[in-house]
Amino acid sequence: MDTKRTTFNNRLLPYLLLAPQLAITLIFFIWPAAQAVKSSFEREDPFGFSTVFVGLAHYQQLLADPNYLDSLWRTAVFAVSVTLLSMVLGLAFAAAVDRLTRTSKVYTTLLVWPYAVAPVVAGVLWWFLFNTSTGLLPFFLERFGILWDHDLNGTHAMILIIIAAAWKQISYNFLFFLAGLQSVPQALMEAAAIDGSGPVKRFFTISLPLLSPTTFFLFIINVNYTMFDTFPIVDATTGGGPAQATTTLVYKVYQDGYVGLNLGSSSAQSVLLMLIVMLLTFVQFRFVERRVQY
């Protein structure tokens, strides 16, 4: 990794400059992570007097626990649905705004602000819209013969958090897709138009393939977002229910550890989550490097 051609040659100063960042990282990031790894191999007695090394027992228990596997599966469904929904809508809005010239700024402003809405507020707003006694949407759904009840129906609860989580993320995807579309060379578009391909064909044969690096990047970012940043949506609305139907992996770590005080299992879950984030980060950075050359 490079520095400048010329550098300062103070001995102590760089360490002093780095000290606050490194101290916080070591104390609040790396040390707790190491503790999580350590206690995932240990069992503590109920009074916290002694701990015994139990090896991989917690992991074996987790991977044999239908509740955990269930939560893993639900998180995957949640992440993929939110990612697809918010990316498709973001791309559609970006493609539309990209077609316009004078009004594109206005539409951008109209579409970016949901990014600033807190996840917990987003959750509460959609929860209210879907509320069985006061909400607007169940009232309409009833006309189509659907009796909406996210307090009892797990699928309904899942749809609720998918919509709330995707809604917040559309603006992020929109901005990145718009930036990508605006960097597609105009000459390509003109050449294709002269050769007689219409806007739809141009979108699918030129814009979309050229957007594939952006698409891939956004896919990773969105999966990451859905897995880790949607905790407030779940906590404030469904609370993981009904019957675990919306218990994501992160929510389960919180419930088992902070609420249920099952340290060993919660730590093992933390470690598995860390592995997932590491994998996602690794893929993301491998890719970002390649994107620079693109």
Binding site: L18, P20, P32, L125, F128, N131, F231, S266, T281
Partner: protein, 282 residues
């Protein structure tokens, strides 16, 4: 635009307007609901036109509503949110710009190690290490304190990388000229790097302010004293009622007020916001 297709342009406008209506729907409904009283809301689907209880609801939420849930005053929680968001913003920018300066402008043993330690924070979001981080904060006696609420959140790999990348594009000649003129590292940093970084700092401020304002899990873990509750905690408390009905008219008024500051920041500082978002890449 490559060619003129009036009908397609019309469709584009129609699609975007429809899209905006759908995206804005939950917020519109929230605003409408916040102008009705609870009996109107409970008697059927939310009216889509404003009611007559606007002033009443908003003055209730600002004065007495939160006390009923054992919460501090709404303005107190708003102030807490503001302090937390600003402390996180300023803290992250300060420590990141200093570490980027050290990494780019000095050569010293363990430089690469320092870089990797900072990088690792990307892989350890608080969500994956809830219990052990809570324990550390508790052991350090930082539960229910401003230090506990903000300091663990201000380490930032993305901000450090952004500044590093920017410093790499600053011409070497500037440093050489400064050294010829006898400027030390701190003078160079203050008089040359800092002014040059203004736009980047501005862009980061917008992103980080939103990040700080919407924090939820961390305050939930480290504060049990309602005096430290932020608006986000208050929202959660107001919708978790054991028995009886949720006071939707007040919850919606509270939501509208709670989302207003970051939305205004995004709308009025849109250029900086987009720059910050696309350059930090999360």
């Amino acid at each position: 635009m490559v060619e003129n297709r009036p009908f397609l342009t019309f469709l584009t406008h129609a699609f975007l307007i429809l899209g905006f209506v759908i995206v804005a729907l939950p917020v519109y409904v929230a605003i409408m609901a916040s102008t009705h009283d609870i009996s109107t809301l409970m008697s059927g689907p939310v009216p889509l036109l404003p009611g007559s209880h606007f002033i009443e609801n908003y003055s209730t939420i600002l004065t007495s509503a939160s006390a009923a849930h054992g919460l501090p005053n709404y303005s107190h929680m708003a102030l807490n949110s503001l302090v937390m968001a600003l402390a996180i913003t300023v803290g992250k920018i300060c420590i990141s710009i200093l570490s980027a300066f050290a990494i780019v402008y000095f050569r010293f043993p363990f430089r690469l190690l320092a870089f990797w330690i900072i990088f690792v924070t990307l892989m350890l979001p608080v969500e994956v290490r809830i219990m052990p981080t809570y324990k550390i904060v508790a052991d350090l006696g930082m539960l229910n304190s401003w230090a506990g609420l903000t300091i663990p959140l201000i380490a930032s790999a993305t901000a450090t990388f952004l500044f590093r990348q920017f410093f790499m594009t600053v011409p070497d000649e500037l440093l050489e000229a400064a050294r010829v003129d006898g400027a030390g590292p701190l003078k160079f940093f203050r008089d040359i790097l800092l002014p040059l970084s203004r736009t980047n700092i501005g862009a980061l401020c917008v992103i980080l302010f939103i990040y700080g304002w919407v924090q939820y899990l961390w305050p939930l873990l480290v504060t049990t004293d309602p005096g430290y509750y932020t608006l986000m905690m208050g929202m959660k408390r107001m919708v978790t009622v054991q028995d009886g009905v949720i006071e939707w008219h007040l919850v919606m008024a509270g939501s509208v007020l709670a989302m207003l500051p970051p939305i205004l920041v995004v709308v009025f500082m849109q250029r900086l916001f987009i720059r910050g978002l696309t350059e930090t890449e999360k």
